[in-house]
């Protein structure tokens, strides 16, 4: 029985140094993702994707003379390091027709690069826009949860590189306790806008990578009520079955009654 691991990423400890983003690319030999200036604060890599598996978001609020970023009342500039959520119910995994995406013994969601054939279905099945197909390669890529390192008993590269402990890696259950304690502490200190994002109550059923952010999680591109696409499976197939029934019925009836009449009426027009 392997331990189930997770990430707890705490924005109130993040200095936005992007060491995680770089360490991930170094370790996993992920190529460059373009050299575009965005004008969106200090974030020029934009979003998670086929060639950005860790992504540090920079959310700017208002500044006020005297108030540092840790002032409970005012969130002036917050950083949050995003990553594949490693969903409990993972849309990508369920949808993958080749079985390339698997759940590892550590509870992570892992794409086997030797199996993926680049069908692109996982891309539209991730409720968080994480996984994507790399044009230059044809296969889909995303955070591997450093499966290779975890198998060696090592910490994922991103967490290892984080100088401030903003990215905590460890026992998922442990981390959830840590997170609760952290929230209590911050709330006690008056930072009431601090909140944990982990969609347990939704069909996603919680994530192995969860986050502590300040303010509305939506401004960090973390959806309030994500849904795993699977919820649509039943209605869709029911509809398909109904449609099939009707088509079949109509065809049979149609030919039963009018089918033979074909050759007789040769109405030219």
């Amino acid at each position: 029985m392997n331990r189930i691991t997770g990430f707890f990423t705490d924005a109130t400890l993040c200095i936005g140094c992007k060491a995680c983003e770089v360490a991930c690319k170094e370790w996993n030999e992920v190529p460059a993702d373009g050299y575009e200036f965005s004008g969106n604060s200090y974030d020029n890599t934009g979003a998670l994707g086929h060639s950005t598996w860790r992504h540090v978001k920079f959310v700017e609020g208002e500044t006020s003379i005297g108030a540092g970023g840790m002032m409970p009342e005012l969130m002036s500039w917050a950083f949050s390091s995003d990553v594949c959520k490693h969903c409990e119910n993972a849309g990508c995994l369920e949808s993958c027709p080749t079985g390339s995406i698997i759940r590892t013994e550590f509870g992570g969601v892992y794409i086997q690069p030797d199996i993926c054939n680049g069908c692109g279905y996982c891309v539209v099945n991730c409720p968080f826009g994480v996984v994507d197909r790399r044009p230059t390669d044809g296969r889909a890529f995303k955070c591997t949860f450093c499966y290779d390192r975890q198998k060696e008993g090592d910490t994922p590269a991103c967490a290892k590189a984080c100088p401030t402990g903003s990215i905590l890696f460890g026992d998922l259950e442990q981390l959830e306790k840590v997170a609760d304690a952290r929230i209590e502490k911050l709330h006690a200190a008056g930072m009431t806008d601090a909140n944990i994002w982990n969609p347990k109550e939704t069909s996603v059923g919680g994530t192995h990578a969860f986050f502590l952010v300040r303010g509305d999680a939506a401004q960090y591109n973390l959806p309030a009520k994500p849904e795993v696409p699977l919820t649509a499976l039943k209605p869709a197939w029911n509809a398909a079955a109904a449609a099939a029934g009707v088509i079949f019925g109509a065809a049979v009836l149609g030919f039963a009654f009018a089918g033979r009449s074909g050759r007789k009426w040769k109405i030219e027009n």
Partner: protein, 265 residues
């Protein structure tokens, strides 16, 4: 403190990476599937041999084209067979690929097998899987994270099914068949598509055109007995419908509001 409801309006979701082959496959595969169904129905109603044969040929050709279309869209075409290393009922694409595989074999059998009874059995198999071929692509789109598709998960299979039926009928008619069954089925499909088109809210321009070409336009042609025109319109509409839905899906993915807050903004 100003709280942007989004992250610099960056999309949350990734758009589909599929290229033109996919919508074309949706169209071809659907038409082929429906054709095989018509073939079976005709066969049992004892309709003329030609119609049955043509229906089977259409199904076979459709199936034959579908494979390459699907494969060429893969990022790693040489790995197509990995699709068949597992069967995952919860993955519409897995179900679809397996269905296509069986359908392809069956349609081939229905045309190429030596003895008529064998061909007939094979045709029945083709008809059965054809029903799935005609409808599952709606499921394929519906069961995703793309808001627009997901919202229409219950509708797309029916919509695509009707559109497939319409195109199958149209193809046979363009072959010159003047069968009453085809005529009434053509009417049925056009009627349903018109209703669908009417019912559908927030349509992209392309969806509007596609809707018109699949519903009202052929319906009117048929009223005035313009079968071939109706058929042509239906086919065009049916192809356009698939393209339009995929394009609309991309637009839907690009809008962060729905995905973030579950409501348009």
């Amino acid at each position: 403190m100003t709280t942007p409801a989004t992250y610099y309006n960056q999309p949350l979701l990734k758009p589909p990476v599929w290229t033109w082959e996919v919508p074309v496959y949706f169209f071809v595969g659907g038409a082929a599937g429906a054709a095989s169904v018509l073939g079976v129905a005709a066969q049992f109603s004892g309709a003329d041999e030609e119609l049955v044969r043509d229906a089977r040929w259409i199904a076979l050709i459709g199936a034959a084209v579908s494979g390459p279309l699907l494969i060429s869209d893969l990022g790693r075409p040489e790995r197509f067979l990995n699709m068949l290393r597992v069967f995952k009922p919860q993955s519409p694409m897995s179900v679809g690929v397996w269905t296509l595989a069986v359908f392809g074999g069956a349609t081939a059998g229905a045309v190429l097998l030596p003895y008529k009874p064998l061909r007939s059995i094979s045709a029945v198999a083709a008809g059965a899987t054809g029903l799935v071929m005609a409808t599952y692509t709606g499921v394929l789109l519906g069961v995703t994270a793309i808001p627009l598709w997901k919202e229409h998960a219950h509708f797309l299979p029916v919509h695509f099914g009707a559109s497939a039926l319409g195109s199958a009928v149209s193809l046979l008619e363009l072959r010159g068949h003047r069968n009453g069954a085809l005529r009434s089925l053509g009417f049925a499909a056009a009627t349903f598509e018109s209703a669908a088109d009417f019912a559908l809210e927030q349509k992209t321009p392309m969806l509007k055109i596609a809707g018109a070409l699949s519903g009202p336009v052929p319906f009117l042609f048929r009223l005035f007995g313009k079968r071939k025109a109706a058929a042509a319109a239906t086919l065009l509409g049916s192809l356009l419908t698939r393209i339009a839905w995929i394009e609309a899906g991309k637009a839907s993915a690009a809008d962060p509001h729905v995905a973030l807050h579950g409501s348009g903004a």
